[in-house]
Symmetry: C2
Subunit: 310 residues, 2 copies
């Protein structure tokens, strides 16, 4: 086994987010798809982060990342640059963010360059980011055991061809239900997932927010998971990223891609997402332990258990 | 054990429905909450039906009901009367019916009178109907092992006090997510269910359509079930009624109200609902066998299974 083959390489946005929800708000707090997914994955496996920030990115955030066995040598810092900034609000419907402002800043001219030893990473997660950058990362890696991508409506609309190229080359596609429908034009989720499978990915994982997640293996729906009943959702930002990061981190820890592990990965992903929404930014993760995670995983088992027919 | 203590008494609407969906349409087809739930329950236990129809109600429908061990002595036939008629359409969103016409007809002057031996029924399901009529039925029964009610937005808005009286007196409340939110004014489903529990019912079962169902036992969410992945929903009419009927029928068959059986009842309810939506009216149920049902129940077990943590 090559060195670092149990590591998860993650590329995606690193951001300062300003978010308002019915529970309150934060200004320029740590965020971004790569950050949520890296922290989530780091509970299970070493992570190698690829991204870009500006000089304004607080050193304490880098320190937080490195304190969680996240290798940040792939995090470029652009001298004089400004970090990607997203401003959004969830009002009324916590399932749907309203984007107030998106400042790409240093992302406008970003080109990922992987440190040499990143190339042998066994697990690769292309978090939400321009699909052309996802392709650049895929071009720089050797022969990972599992590759996965996420995306968003913005790229489905604006860079569909590049996204289709990504889908042709990954093993797992993470998508939320609206994105799966948007990409395929198919309203029935089962048929939409089958169409995405035909575009390339062997596994399609559809995230449905408070309604759980569904995994398709090859032609058919192989696993469905309810979501954990969170009594108070404080901030949904990063839930999908935390899900995917937890999923990839767990699979990396097992080292073996098989259906039993993928099912457990979905539940670990849901578990991480359910913790993440209980506070703003990465705050809940900062005080989270693997014991908390395993406890909630087992609670998941209790609330979905039922006896055989008859 | 009293005679008939394993029977399910069901009161609710018996209807002729005209329904249009993207898959086609039917005119004046057999329908109604009591019919869907009675047929669903009849796969597991003897059913005693309470309802009303007009002279126009086709004899073949009565014959269908009686062929499924459903006792129809409680089905009043009003001479010269017209059967309740609902006309609706599902266009685009299969989760939401658009009501085009509702003709109450014989329901306007209905007062349920239970045949003497119905009073000892062990299981009572008050399907969707005017809550004042649900109360009249509750006044006529002895000491059932389990009582349950369903309702709809129309009664929550128009007869809330009577509905609250019903809730005070039943063990199980079935509601869909929108109704649970409407009744309590609480957008978080977990908190809404807790408020409904405080109104009376020990068990609150929230039906979420394609997103499954959740059961609350006393103060807390005790069970969550995904829905079965139906590839083509032909007609969603009666899904919730089939769910509740399957739930009550199964519990009656076990004869024992405990959490393990209630969990299985949720899955049997989901199973019946998933079959029902695959055709118009009661057509799928007409060719359904208990072997089909148990087969899909076991498929449910396969698609939600995952191994312990670690």
């Amino acid at each position: 086994m090559a060195a670092g083959s149990d590591s998860v390489l993650i590329v995606g946005s690193v951001a300062l987010d300003s978010v308002e929800t019915p529970s309150g708000k934060v200004e320029r707090a740590l965020g971004g798809a790569a950050v949520y997914s890296s922290i989530a994955a780091s509970f299970f496996a070493p992570v190698r982060l690829v991204g870009v920030v500006g000089e304004d990115f607080p050193q304490e955030h880098v320190a937080f990342l490195t304190s969680r066995r996240i290798d940040t040598r792939g995090l470029q810092v652009v001298p004089g640059g400004k970090t990607f900034h997203w401003k959004g609000a969830y009002m009324g419907d916590l399932n749907q963010a309203e984007t107030i402002a998106t400042e790409l800043n240093v992302f406008q001219s970003f080109s990922p360059k992987l440190p040499e030893d990143y190339r042998s990473s066994g697990f690769v997660f292309l978090a939400n980011i321009d699909p052309e950058l996802q392709l650049e990362v895929l071009d720089q890696i050797d022969s990972p055991k599992l590759t996965a991508c996420d995306t968003m409506n913005f790229w489905i609309e604006g860079k569909k061809d590049a996204l289709l190229d990504v889908l042709r080359r990954v093993d797992v596609a993470f998508m939320n239900d609206a994105e799966a429908r948007q990409l395929t034009g198919e309203s029935n989720l089962n048929r939409a997932a089958n169409e995405i499978h035909e575009l390339g990915p062997r596994y399609v994982v559809v995230k449905k927010g408070e309604h759980g997640a569904v995994m398709y293996c090859d032609q058919s729906m192989c696993f469905t998971a309810a979501s954990y009943p969170v009594h108070e959702v404080v901030d949904p930002t990063g839930a999908g990223d935390s899900f995917a990061g937890g999923f990839m981190g767990f699979i990396a820890r097992t080292g073996e891609v098989n259906e039993a592990n993928l099912r457990r990965a979905v539940i670990y992903g849901s578990t991480l997402a359910s913790f993440n929404v209980q506070d703003f930014s990465l705050n809940r993760f900062k005080r989270l332990t693997i014991k908390d995670i395993d406890g909630r995983y087992e609670e998941f088992r209790r609330i979905v258990h039922f006896e055989p027919a008859g």
